[in-house]
Subunit: 246 residues, 2 copies
Amino acid sequence: MTGSLVIAGLGPGTEGLIAPDVMAALEAATDIVGYGPYVERIAAREGLRLHATDNRQEIERARHALELAAAGQKVVVVSSGDPGVFAMAAAVFEALEAAPAYLDLDIRVLPGITAMLAAAARIGAPLGHDFCAINLSDNLKPFELIEHRLRLAIRADFACAFYNPRSRARPHQFARLLDVMREEAGPERLIIFARAVFRPEEDIAVVPLAEAKPEMADMRTMVILANASTRRVGRFVYAPRKAEAP
Amino acid sequence: MTGSLVIAGLGPGTEGLIAPDVMAALEAATDIVGYGPYVERIAAREGLRLHATDNRQEIERARHALELAAAGQKVVVVSSGDPGVFAMAAAVFEALEAAPAYLDLDIRVLPGITAMLAAAARIGAPLGHDFCAINLSDNLKPFELIEHRLRLAIRADFACAFYNPRSRARPHQFARLLDVMREEAGPERLIIFARAVFRPEEDIAVVPLAEAKPEMADMRTMVILANASTRRVGRFVYAPRKAEAP
């Protein structure tokens, strides 16, 4: 029997937004590998081994998945959202680069609905014009790069979707970034805090930057800074399709 | 009976990547509204009316959908990919802003797998680090804004996903943008041309910018300019998770 490795996205956290191809891969799997809370979303069944690991262990987890596939297992590495967006796909290819003996393995990525698309859908269409996605975690990049990129993104008038906005390990950085946003975009610019979207505990707030506070975000919150022309219409927020010259 | 309007994403074009919640909305619908080729993807059945319209008619289509919902129909507006990314959601909210009498309607957006996530999955993880999405169509914004935004995005070292890269109406603009990319990112930077991903006719090419030609893209192609640290590993292309200071 030949093994295989599928790197799959579970979407925002509701069964109704998991792609059928991902469900089929999970049903065919012998081994599920991933961060604990994501692996917990997979129903146990006979013949399926669940390998849940800690948050910071991406490379070890990726290597383990490659080893299992090389040993003939049908492995699915699970991420929430889309595996290619600040999730496990890049870690698996990094592990593969370090272990080229695994290059002949049957490796596939199955996309998913990433958190910013889910959050945007729940509030309207704040990503309806050009936008960017920035991971605010400084585990793997210096904070000064995050600040530099944020300033350029606002000057380009991208809507900005922020992943991993805030953690206990670095409570001051998000406060600092809100100051940068106010400096670059002004106090009236809208910012969206979308927590646990499509879940029963969903909680969404839209405020002008002047009223934004760091504690409005935690690690389960997707934060979206609107672009300059974004407007409210009733309970919705949307970015108009049209734009003027810079 | 009260009407409703769901703005739904059909994903990249394979049944296996349509969310179950979207399938359920399609099954409950009385009316499907959308651009012809997307409406054609919906199976006909008794009691379902299909309203296919031309590509440039987004606002008229959106208004028609609101009118049908107000008349008590269960309407689904379909887009390919995600409806919130260069698709119908922004147009519906624009139409809603112009017709606030419809604000009390039951309106929901259901997200989908947008083209850049599907393309990225098929080639590896080129969007595994910070990235942006730019619509290259100049129907609704001046070309100089596109060029300005592209330059800032490359200076921020975002990977750049380009939607609607090229059309018969503006064949020279994409050639000009490739020149801008070479100027800002250098001739060695990788660029991905991913056509009809997850379809039988899928065709993906990865080349350095020096070898990129405008005719490698058409309107069914997702183009992704890699960031500076993106590498090949075997048949895959991925953006490492780590980054250095600017």
